[in-house]
Symmetry: D2
Subunit: 159 residues, 4 copies
């Protein structure tokens, strides 16, 4: 992540690069691995989903409640994952979540899986908001858009 200090005055700052992304720690268990001795590729999408769920919860939104109270669900419409290094049993990974733009019809996130400073997998994930029963597209509620835009905003320089 480029520190804010490195960005010259007057430049447009890609918002998500000015704040540390949300991160969530996960442990690799037997269930995550395959006979190749490493984490099965599909399972990174599980790890990314867990981190997104915790990110939404940290912003104030439990998904079960979102469904019960508003009849809404987030669904993934597009994923791109680049697998860089394999993760193994007992590894402890950091999974990051960073919105890459203000949410509109969809919500675009960048997510990474890291072991220490080593990048293991890097992803672009697009979510949409739908009605729980019918999967018809719905606007992302303002109550959610607000905190996400807040999370995107450049933070004041530290001491």
């Amino acid at each position: 992540m480029t520190p804010a200090a490195a960005v010259p005055h007057g430049d447009i700052i890609p918002c998500s690069m000015t704040v540390a992304p949300f991160s969530h720690r996960v442990r690799i268990y037997w269930e995550d691995t395959d006979a190749g001795g490493v984490v099965f590729y599909a399972n990174y999408l599980k790890l990314f989903e867990r981190a997104r769920t915790e990110w939404l919860r940290a912003l104030g939104f439990g998904q079960q409640r979102l469904r019960d109270d508003e009849g809404l669900m987030f669904v993934v419409t597009d994923t791109r994952v680049r697998f860089v290094q394999p993760a193994r049993l007992d590894d402890e990974l950091t999974i990051t979540v960073a919105p890459v733009a203000p949410p509109r019809a969809t919500l675009s996130l960048r997510q990474q899986a890291l072991r220490g400073d080593t990048l293991l997998a890097d992803s672009d994930i697009t979510l949409a908001c739908v009605e729980a029963g019918t999967f018809r597209p719905r606007r992302i509620p303002n109550a959610i858009v607000g905190p996400i835009i807040g999370a995107l905003a450049p933070q004041p320089p530290g001491p």
Copy 2:
């Protein structure tokens, strides 16, 4: 399976032993294995569930339709699994399903995973019928009980 010929006259024959159990073929893929190089223990329950679904379908009951039309679901209330030999990538297994008694409040099944004649895992599974939304117990519909009892009945001797 004890062949019918080996059962002395007058004995009570456990019904499920007089007919070949239903069987379903499954292939072992990377997703099923773990870093031990073999099928992860929890995944046998997935294989058993697939075979039960195909068994119900063969009896005339798709579970999505059972839910849509009758508002009913089967849930597992008890499982016992003995793991005998590991299964590996690319193995083709036979998963059997045999009711062990006429269904009453619950439905008791015996299920096995075999590679050829080699027993890999052996299980006793108990299912109950519940209302889809509330999980309140419901009677197993007669339309399902009938075919299962039919499957239990000793078949007439072949030519």
Copy 3:
């Protein structure tokens, strides 16, 4: 769990009941659920495995290291699970691990899944120790048996 104070003098105390069992917190994510709206039955075995792994780690044994250094793996040979109440998305569960006897050829554990004080699933799990490549049975190393027996021993009364 019966508190130690309730056990009369001179009785033989089932060891595992005199100490609080090891427990591990897990969150229920989308990956754990199925179209019934609850946790898929096979996935409880994943939660139980995670808790066992953390229990072994707390006793000083990482399984990847056990495999690298000693060429040993634990495998499950028998499981019995009773499913009492369904768990749902966003639930936070406590998964317990308690050895029920000193380990010999096998290691017998009782594991439960609880939401608060509500029992959701209750299990008896038997593990054996095998050579990583061949799956041939091996004695559980004394370095592991010792701490488990220590965990079984009644603890001195608190202040």
Copy 4:
């Protein structure tokens, strides 16, 4: 798929469009779904993997044998998946596999999940060949490249 007849003389034909892609049928079971009532997004990568395995097997390459005999494994290095429509319990899907170019350092595939003619998910998958133990890159063996290029070649016009 554009029929070969529609391609004017002299044009460069994207090879994969001139032959029907390999396809593999899969059934959706409870294990594949989540509490949203549809197939969990990560599980499409399992379905794609199963189809790739069957495609390799149809070309003459079992992956367990590839590993035992040659010490080689295929690993996924990049995936892009667009989720178009949800799949549901009991659906029977067709999963396609089509190489999009002659294999070089990597093997690029297009894979789709369809229910009848309805596209549910569309993916671009890149595989690399590695040494099983070390994950060091290795050339894709000619014995595999040959049949894949053969599969890419335009087929002679039918009767």
